[in-house]
């Protein structure tokens, strides 16, 4: 047996294949442990079932138990209005509880841009994108295409604020009288524009190409964003099921694609001017979210031990091969 092993190692071709196998093993292990690989498309975000309702508070302790995935972002250069790219990565966690999917996005932003009041002010924002359940093929992550639409949940920081009148927004503003303050005189409000109605910080939208983004009939997505310590933390929540084929549908044991986008308002980012990811995989597991308690640590220790062990084997094989080659065998 020892002789066979030595003979295998003496063959250059076998040394190559053994090395490759070691690398693949390590890569598989990284994937299995949710460690970030280089390629976005290979990322998987797992949503396990939480035993408690995380609610819309990004600070809820449930989130500490969910494994974050670091999703790389880049500027949007595919179409007008191009731009963005100021936020390199968004950290995403997912759980579900009693048939509702929760996503939590977190990213660094030195300024909290919560107002869009002045003409030059743009609010920070974030969005999550899924293929529509009616999509027969995987839609382009760039706003989908005809026949393969996308469902977008869009949170904007200004929508967390009340829609103030100028006299409320500016402490020194003086207005004698507004003759009419009915909805009709806030034209966009009368037209049913969601920003003018300010009903929710999150809008549920559908799109089938650039420029086609439209509010969905069903506004079932909730959300809330909190800014603290140079970071935005935003939670999105929506029940699994929907009757609208243009929207995404979820369920335990299912997988779907998901992409993310972040806007930095103080850099004038809005619309296509954003930091955006490609699709990654969202895997909704029926398994319970690990509690973070004592029952969890043996798996973590085993995973780390396996990782270290396989790494050591890989390194040893590499070193052996190098040494053999140096000795001219």
């Amino acid at each position: 047996m020892k002789g066979l092993f030595a003979a295998v190692l003496q063959s250059r071709a076998w040394r190559f294949w053994l090395g490759a196998a070691a690398v693949l093993t390590i890569a598989a292990l990284l994937q299995w442990t949710d460690t970030e690989p280089a390629e976005t498309q290979n990322l998987t975000l797992f949503a396990y079932e939480a035993d408690r309702d995380p609610g819309l508070d990004p600070g809820n302790s449930v989130w500490e138990r969910a494994q974050p995935v670091q999703v790389p972002l880049s500027g949007q250069a595919a179409t007008y209005a191009a731009g963005g790219g100021s936020v390199p990565v968004v950290s995403v966690r997912a759980v579900h509880h009693k048939g509702t999917l929760y996503l939590r996005l977190e990213w660094d932003d030195p300024t909290a841009d919560t107002s869009s009041y002045r003409p030059e002010d743009f609010a920070d924002a974030a969005a999550v994108e899924f293929p529509a359940q009616a999509a027969t093929t995987v839609p382009s992550f760039c706003m989908g295409q005809p026949g393969a639409g996308v469902n977008i949940w869009h949170w904007r920081a200004d929508s967390e604020q009340v829609l103030a009148l100028p006299t409320e927004h500016y402490s020194n503003a003086v207005v004698d009288w507004y003759p009419s303050t009915e909805d009709l005189f806030f034209t966009a409000r009368a037209a049913g524009n969601p920003y003018a109605l300010n009903a929710s910080p999150v809008q549920n939208l559908v799109a089938q190409a650039f420029g086609t983004l439209t509010p969905a009939a069903e506004q079932s997505v909730q959300g809330h964003g909190v800014y603290a310590n140079g970071k935005w933390q935003v939670v999105f929540a929506r029940p699994f099921s929907t009757s609208d084929p243009e929207l995404a549908a979820f369920g335990p044991g299912t997988k779907t694609d998901v992409a993310f986008a972040v806007w930095d308002g103080s850099k004038g980012e809005r619309d296509g001017m954003k930091s955006v990811s490609q699709f990654i995989t969202l895997s909704i597991s029926g398994a319970p979210l690990a509690g973070g308690g004592p029952e969890d640590w043996p798996w973590t220790v085993a995973a780390i031990a396996l990782f270290l062990g396989l790494s050591a084997i890989g390194l040893a094989l590499g070193w052996y091969g190098y040494r053999e080659a140096r000795m001219g065998r």
């Binding site: 829609l163 003759p179 034209t187 049913g192 420029g211």
Partner: protein, 411 residues
């Protein structure tokens, strides 16, 4: 990008969309020579459309004093500077290349569409800050200097003039080109450009792109709004005219009688269909006495200005193109027909679709630039869309003497 014909520039240019099928186009002529900047138009607009919370800094109609005034501050200087930087020394006209298709010659420089990169901007522009939308009357009545010897034509040494501005309802609107959501549209029935208040998401790309800065952001709805050309009046849905098209509020209230608004027929290339007896067509295409504002921007705007005849020509050529000298010559020494058509300004709220002139007797002579001109008291008649007469006015304003009244409150 599509290729479209811009007759203001006398050449084709690139624009994100093809022309529509043609139809009617909202158009107006403003006579800057007559304006006294009373701002009645401004207040008429404000009290009709923009008197609600969030519209405080919004003036769809404004009258600014040139050269120092501007709403928002220095809007035109800023855009001219951006264009000059994008094409240094190249923003010039070939005024010799005139034809029916190119009444002002050929613009050799870059339009705001051609100077933009197409990816971050579809039209070269900038987003004015809140500060810049304040003080809409900054620079009012400020002249360029003091004329110690008094003022003389053709150019005053110290000068200013009033520039009346509304949305130009451009044939090639930059706001429409820039909206990434296609929330802005141009109506075939009258060429009026509108922002869909349901689709707008407040990105302000239109505010950034409109070179005339007539798309404005409203913080209380988080959307942008703009001049709607009083479309219910232009449609004729105001009960006053019983279905007949009526001029906008800013036009109808003009105290100085400087404004005339109408609808002109346009074809599928954006050119005007010949309509010799339409007063707007006559003033713009036959007499060429009224000129577009900053035609070099490339949007083919539809408000035309009779330029002020005392202002240095270089300034006016930059603002109205190379047709300035001809327009001032025409206005200073008007033809018999032009003198009659100029009487149609502000004699009715109804839109005049055509006119006719009945010759009248000679009533006097004037000396203009050394030659004697005869003045005839012709009658000009305006007709509505249905061809029926809506107004009749003579060149010489009639004088009426009121009989003496004995009531105490008679003035």
């Amino acid at each position: 990008m599509a290729t479209v014909y811009n007759w203001h520039l006398g050449r084709e240019m690139s624009y994100p969309y093809q022309n529509g099928p043609g139809g009617w186009q909202f158009a107006a002529v403003f006579n800057t020579n007559r304006c006294i900047a009373c701002q009645t138009c401004t207040m008429a607009c404000k009290s009709t459309w923009t008197f609600s919370p969030g519209q405080e800094l919004m003036w769809w109609n404004n009258v600014e004093t040139k050269p120092y005034g501007g709403y928002p501050h220095n809007w035109d200087v800023k855009i001219l500077e951006l264009l000059e930087k994008a094409n240094p020394g190249g923003q010039v006209w070939d005024a010799t290349a005139k034809s029916d298709d190119a009444p002002y010659g050929r613009f050799e420089g870059k339009t705001i569409f051609e100077a933009a990169d197409g990816m971050t901007q579809r039209a070269l522009g900038y987003l004015p800050s809140e500060e810049e939308w304040k003080g809409p009357n900054n620079g009012e009545d400020v002249a360029t200097g003091w004329s110690a010897k008094g003022a003389e034509l053709p150019e005053h040494a110290g000068w200013f003039f009033y520039l009346q501005r509304i949305c130009n309802h451009c044939t090639y609107p930059a706001c429409l080109a820039a909206c990434p959501r296609q929330a802005i549209y141009k109506r075939q029935e009258d060429g009026i450009v509108l922002i869909d208040q349901e689709r707008c998401r407040g990105y302000r790309k239109c505010v950034e792109a409109c070179p005339y800065k007539k798309a404005m952001y409203r913080p209380t709805t988080r959307t942008s709004e703009k001049c709607i050309a009083c479309f219910p009046r232009v449609e004729g849905s105001d009960p006053l005219t019983q279905g007949e098209p009526m001029e906008t509020r800013c036009m109808a209230t003009c105290v100085g009688k400087i404004r005339l608004q109408g609808l002109v027929r346009v074809d599928e290339t954006g050119r005007w269909v010949e309509d010799r007896q339409n007063p707007i067509y006559y003033l713009v295409h036959v007499e060429k006495v009224a000129l577009p504002l900053y035609p070099q921007f490339g949007t083919q705007p539809n408000v035309y200005y009779i330029p002020p005849r005392w202002v240095p020509r270089a300034y006016l050529r930059q603002m109205f193109g190379p047709g300035v000298d001809h327009a001032i010559e025409r206005y200073t020494n008007p033809s018999r027909e032009l003198l009659a058509v100029l009487q149609l300004f502000r004699v009715t709220q109804r839109i005049i679709f055509s006119y006719a002139i009945e010759p009248g007797p000679k009533v006097g002579e004037v000396r203009i630039n050394g030659t004697v001109r005869e003045i005839f008291n012709d009658t000009v008649i305006g007709y509505g869309r249905d061809g029926k007469e809506i107004v009749r006015v003579t060149v010489e304003e009639p004088i009426y003497e009121r009989p003496q009244r004995k009531t105490l409150n008679s003035i």
